[in-house]
């Protein structure tokens, strides 16, 4: 295995990091659906909080994706 293929193996391994982000976002929105089902009057407030939380969680997935991109075009 030459050194170039190690780079591509590293890129593939980096992309596994997005798995955590997707599970996190799914968690947030599943609890949002549960909460809206229990209390539909608070839908707006809950949705705002969910969007904030999803933005923060997705950022960590984007960190992993950004590192993979930087590796790919290095």
């Amino acid at each position: 295995m030459d050194t170039v293929s190690f780079k591509y193996i590293a890129i593939g391994l980096m992309s596994i990091g997005m798995l955590g982000a997707s599970i996190g976002v799914g968690n947030i929105f599943s609890s949002l659906l549960n909460a809206i089902a229990r209390n539909p009057a608070q839908e707006n407030k809950l949705f705002q909080r969910a969007i904030i939380g999803a933005g923060m969680v997705e950022a960590l997935g984007i960190f992993a994706f950004t590192l993979a991109l930087i590796l790919m075009f290095q």
Binding site: I51, I52, G55, E58
Partner: protein
């Protein structure tokens, strides 16, 4: 032909200047920042020029923007946070207009550069720390030791809280820069597919349309998240927990 998707982020100097050996040229990044501020000022000025009690359409748009930022600030910090409204309003609109200018064709995304977002996050962090120390003095450091922790847990908890506090400007800046960078690189890679596929190059185009729509949503959302995290950090400084 391997088209480089990072070519769109290159900073090219338009007017070369240098002061005392430092390169302070007017670059395309500076041009887009000035263009964003000019657009913003034009909008706010023309919307509030003939301000009437019953607003017309343009004034209504500016009022919606104002009330949106005001409600997030007051919702996070309470009445004491009203003094920070110009700061949060400027920050939110600056990031929003820069993100949206990046989505225009041939537009340069200034906020995809980590140096720009790092300076914005450093300004927020400095204002949070200064507010905390001016308002509360050394009692501000009680932020790191929540009420009712047992004494044996205190040293470890202070270290953990300190590091999570110091991670705030880093995460704030990398979140914005990473989202913008990743989105635009993805669009360029999809565009390279369209260019390389020749005759059947129209096939990835619906996907590109969906991705452009998603990127506009992410641009607005990331500006909102930057603003609301600023409000949350200001709340930590003004009302200690």
């Amino acid at each position: 032909m391997l088209l480089n998707p990072f070519h769109q982020f290159e900073i090219t100097p338009l007017i070369k200047l240098s002061i005392a050996g430092y390169d302070v040229s007017f670059t395309n990044a500076s041009l887009f920042m000035m263009l964003g501020i000019a657009l913003l000022l034009t909008f706010i000025y023309s919307a509030t020029r003939k301000a009437s009690i019953i607003p017309g359409k343009l004034q209504c748009a500016a009022e919606i923007l104002y009330e949106f930022v005001e409600s997030t600030l007051i919702g996070s910090t309470g009445k004491k946070g009203k003094i920070f409204f110009p700061f949060v309003f400027t920050l939110f609109n600056f990031v929003l207009i820069l993100n949206l200018l990046g989505m225009m064709p041939y537009g340069f995304t200034v906020t995809s550069h980590i140096i720009v977002t790092f300076i914005l996050a450093a300004i927020v962090f400095t204002i949070v720390i200064l507010t905390g120390f001016i308002k509360h003095g050394l009692h501000f450091l009680s932020l790191f030791l929540p009420n009712g922790t047992p004494l044996w847990l205190a040293p470890i908890l202070i270290v953990i809280e300190l590091f999570s506090f110091l991670a705030r400007p880093i995460s704030l800046s990398i979140r914005l820069a990473g989202n913008m960078l990743a989105g635009h690189v993805l669009l360029k890679v999809l565009g390279a597919f369209v260019a390389m596929m020749g005759m059947i190059g129209f096939l990835p185009i619906p996907l590109m349309v969906i991705m452009v729509g998603f990127e506009i949503f992410v641009a607005v959302l990331q500006a909102y998240i930057f603003a609301i995290l600023t409000c949350v950090y200001l709340n930590d400084a003004i009302n200690l927990h």
